[in-house]
Every structure is written in C-alpha cells, then in structure tokens.
Amino acid sequence: MENQTFYYDNKIVKNFAYATLFWGVIGMVVGLLLALQFIWPALTFGIPYTTFGRIRPIHTNAVIFAFVGNGMFTGIYYSLQRLCKARMFNDLLSKINFWGWQLIIVFAALSFAFGMTTGKEYAELEWPIDILVAVIWIVFGWNMIGTIIKRRTQHIYVAIWFYIATFVTIAVLHVTNSLAIPVSLFKSYPIYAGVQDALVQWWYGHNAVAFFLTTPFLGLMYYFLPKAANRPIFSYRLSIVHFWALIFLYIWAGPHHLLYSALPNWAQSLGVVFSVMLIAPSWGGMVNGLLTLRGAWDRVREDPVLKFMVVAVTAYGMSTFEGPMMSTKTVNAISHFTDWTIGHAHIGALGWNGFLTFAVLYYLIPRIFQTKLFSVKIANLHFWIATLGIIFYAVPLYWGAITQASMWKEFTADGFLKYPNFLETVTQLKPMYAARAIGGAMYIVGIVLGVYNLILTIKAGKFLPDEAASAPALAKAEGKRGSGEGVHRWLERRPVQFTILALIAVLIGGIIEIVPLYLIKTNIPTIASVKPYTPLELQGRDIYVREGCYTCHSQQVRPFRSETERYGEYAKAGEYVYDHPFQWGSKRNGPDLSREGVVGGRQYRPNSWHYNHMENPQRLNEQSIMPVYKWLITDDLDISTTAKKIRVMQTLGVPYPEGFDKIANDDLMAQARGIADDLKSQGINVAPTKEIIAMIAYLQRLGKDVHAAGMPTAAVTAK
C-alpha cells in the first residue's frame, strides 16, 4: 500500500490548551474565595452575585467542565489524531467544538452569578444552555467518530475506547438528568420529583465523575504515559479488562450518594455493592499505569512530565480506594454531609485530574512549539508546591470531618446532645478551614508557576500548526470480519458498532436501577397529609433554589438518634413527592432545614427571627458563616410568573385544583399579608410584596406535613 502524507491539526490542540490554563486559574481562584468565606463570611461583600450559594456552582462547574473539560479536549484532540494516523475529521467541527464550549462556560458563569440554576449539583445549567451543551457535545462526538472511521490503523487503541465511552455516556446522562419543563427562558422544573429526582441526579452526578473526570483521563493515561516513558503499557490485556469492567460497574454506583436517605433500601444496597466492586478495575488500571514505569524510575526523577503522572495515577488509586470505603454504610454514616466528601473530591480533582492535565500540557506544548520546556526547575517547583498543597488541603479537611461528625453524634450522660447548637460544630473547624485555604493557595501558586513556565516555552518556540506525518491507507475490505477473527477483535475495528456496545453496557445498570423506582408504586409510599406548596411557598422555594441554599443546608434527616434529636422526624420518601427539584443537599455547612417549620419542633423559629437572620446572620450569631441576604428584604417578589408555575406543576402531576392558576396570586397575597402583619406585630415593617416574605413562608412550611401525619420515631436505633 502506498504511503499517504497528511497533517495533524495542532492549532485546535493549542487553543484547548490555552483555554485549560485560563479557566484553571479562574476556577481555582473562585474556589479559594469560597474557602476564605468560611473564615470571613463578609467576603461575600453583601451582594447577591458573590454569595457562597451562587459562586459554589461557578467553582465546581469551572473546574470540572472548563478546566478539566478543556484539558480533556486538549489531550483527546492531540492523541486521537496520532492514534488514528489521521487529521481530525473536520476542522470546522473542531472549531465549533472549541468556541461552543467556551461560550457555554461564559454563559454558565454569568447565569449562576445571576441565580439562574436548576439547583441540581453539577447539573445547575438552565435548559437553554443545556440544549447548547447537548449540541456541542454531539459535534465533538461526530468529529471524533468521523476521525476514527477515516483512520489509517486497523486496531482502535484502548485509549480511544475510553474516549468513545465518555462521549456516549455523558450524552445519555446529560439528556436524562436535564429533562425539564420550562417556566420561562431562565427557569424550569425538572420532570422528576423528590426521591426519583434524587436518584436520577446522583446517577448523573456520580457518573459525571466516572465518565467526565475518569474515563477520558484514563484514555489520556493510556496514551501519554507510554509516550512519556517511551515504553508500551504494562499489560494491554489488563487494559481491556479495565475498560469493560469499569464502564459496566461504574454506572450502578450512584445511590451511594443517598445512603440512609429516603431512597428505597434495595437501590441503596445496589449502590454499595457495585461501589465496592469498583475497587478491582480501578486498581487494575492504576497498577497498569504504574507498572508501565518499571525500569524507568530513574527517568521519573528527572522528567517533570513523568513525575506529575506518577502522582496523578497514585491519587487515582487513593481516591478509588477511598470512594468505595465511603460507600459502605459504616463509613458513610460518619463521612456523609461532612468535609470528608470535599477532601475526597479534591484528591481526585487536584491530584488525578489536575496533575494529569499538567503532565499532558508539559508534554505536548513544547512539542507543538518545537522547543524544550523553558525550565525543568520551575516545573519541579510547581510539582512540589502543588503536591504539598494537596496535602495541606486534604488532611485538615479529614481531621475536621471526623471532629464534626463526632460532635454531631455525641450525647451527654443524661442522654442529651452534647453540642445541640449546630454552629458550635462549625466554629470548631475554623482552624482547619484556614489550613485548607492555605493548601488551596499553594496549589494555585503552583499553577501560576506552571502557566509562567509554559508562556516562556511558547515564547521561545515556533508553533507548528500542521504537523506532517505519513502512513499507508487502510484497505477498505478490512472492515469485514476475517476468518479466524474473534467478534471482539472485529468489534475493536468497527467504531460505530463498538459505540453501540459500550452504550448497552452502561445502559444496563441505569435501567435496572432507575426504572423500578418509577414502575413500582410501593417504592414511594404516599403520605396523606403531604400537600402541594401554596403559591407563596412555591415562590419562596424557587428563591431558595436561586440562592443555592442547598450548598450549605440539607433537607434530609437520616434515621439516627443523633439526627432525630437534633432536627426531628427522619426523612420519608412520601414527603418529597411535590419537590421539583429535590433539595436534599450533600454537605452540611449549616443545619438540616427539613424540619424548620414544625411548630413546637426542635428547630422552630418565629417569622421575626427568620427576618432578622436573613438580613444579617452574624447579628444573631457572631460566629455564623452564613452569608447575608439583605436583598431579599428590598427586592420585590416577581409574581408575574405564579400562574405559569402552577400550570407547569399541574402538567407534572402536582394536584392543584383545576383553574387554580387564575386565583393563585390572590392566594399568594393573602398568605403574604398574614406574614407581614405578624412581622409588624413584632415591630418589623416590611411590605407583603417583598421576597423575604415568600422565603419565610417556605421555611415555615418545611416538615409541617410529615409531622401532621404523626409518624412514629420508633424505627430509629442507630446513633
């Protein structure tokens, strides 16, 4: 076969690399600001756009989708072309992928700052942006599969399998979890409610970790690690097992985010079992990576690329051991809702994703600029500062998590909670939060050094936009299955069929887990006293979602005595049936709020208390880290949306009476006046039309219905 000459597109790689660096710095600086707000809550500056609840999604989305996302595209666009011995399928598609993705990021940051959010973690984007994400994602997949089809190699290398699995699974997850009915251009209600919403969301959330933060990076590991070490992967056979076992198992593990919740037990147990089994393929992959370096350890000492890779793969091993441990009910009872989760997430994000991204950048930027890395010394400095940064970040959080969990669970000899005031358990952690902020700052210093080093490398080099290569064309007839060729061997050469098979492998778990929760009524026993929210409460709830209160407050009391003592009744599946979206939260920086409105309950507060608290939490509790929400007092509630909201809820099956949308605002105003009058009797003058009134109405509703049912607490045994 005659040799063909073609050119690798390095320009698209360069663009994604620049975007990675840019968003990496921004995303992490926002993270640092969040960390500092735990020490100085005044750093929210008293304005809506910079409060914790709004910028926390900016941080998580920027790091996951902007930094890691662009890093992933950088590595995929570089390695895919070389592994296929072909230029990208279509330059225009590459450009649309790049600019579309950056546009999404900008839209995301702005919309979160303005409080446009679905209130579902890592899926906060509102529906118009969600559609844009889907379109750009398909452009990426089309370009990728097109490239694979026109490749000049027979076999499709295992790294590409990981890329394919990333593409199909993220597409399915994103679409399934984002299904919603719009109320307006920037507001929608998810089609799922309560427990079902929670299951779909965490099936998505967990698999975003699996298929956005893990599989593409494993693909990058399988390409760049052998490249940098200049030796083939330790065991190609192991990589095949790694791939299939990983994608098959991962998809089941989502419910481990919902242990001890109102999710039916069988689903929780499935999540636990599959999470624990995940250790096997994950560690198989880690061992495969590390053993590739056997006999090359002397080079690890000198080559910053390899150094970053070793820590990345080790961090992968650490977090994939820790994750399954946290999925067991014993550990989860302690770790859940604490900073343990945050520590775990950052070992993964900073160690695995961050370090591998920088390894890839240090590898490919000098190459596409035809020069050497400007300074190995600075790269080493980056390496050490960032490694220490991760340790400084994670260790205090683990310490804090155990401290806080113990304080939550501790009883006095007389059987009372030892620390009944939740805030005490937060104040105790402030030194740990300070240490964490220092660790994060060190990591950022490392990144800034990295950016500086790479800029000087770029300045010293000469960019090679189109890199010439040559290889023989792939003969057409070879698409057919040859005699004596196994099905999988054949499949490994057929990208479309392969994609479908990977899709089936991931769908099995999703379907078995999610479908029964819809079809089998007994999974969510109804509670007769649970009624839909009044229009005012619904509006208040939407403000709760807008402000991201769920980033600090859970609405999910676990069946432990320590929690029912502190908050009240433990959570029942039937109480959330009208919650579009669910707001269970995943981290308690403040107390659980799901029993806040129970009159005579452990957490009950009068309207005036809520008013004063929202206006300035530090005035009531000097040590509080809750942000001020004083604009709720001055801003008017937008009641033009009430009727539409009621209609959308009716479409979703919420049983408001026929024609209720027309009188909803009358109902709303009547309830609002009641609250305003009550506040007035306490000496607080505020118009019934203000947002704060709706917020108070919502907070006072929380938990009422369940308590009206007079549920017994007898089932509570565990501490």
Partner: protein, 63 residues
Amino acid sequence: MLRDVFNSIGGFESYGLISMIIFVAFFAMLILHTISLKKKDVETFGRMPLDDSSKESDKNQDS
C-alpha cells in the same frame, strides 16, 4: 448460600441477584476474550502510541 449473603445486606432482593448474574456472565466472557487474544497482536496494539508516523515535533526532545 449466595442468596443468604444478599439477604443479609438487606432489601437487596432479586434486583441484586439479577445484576450480579449479568455482571459475572459479562466478566467471564471478557476474561475468556482477553485470554484468547494472540500474543503478537497484543504486543502490536500495546505499541500503538509509540508509533505516530511523525517525528517532526519530537526532534527537539531528549528522549
């Protein structure tokens, strides 16, 4: 015996059993497949990243 193990996990019921069977079957097939691969092929596949048909960008590097 297996059923006892699952029951003791609590609420696991048949879903758990079905999913485990699916996984074990899948895994067994996978292992058989990887064992049956020819050694020569596996080596060629493993070397794929090292041969990208262009040395242009590598020429300034030490390794």
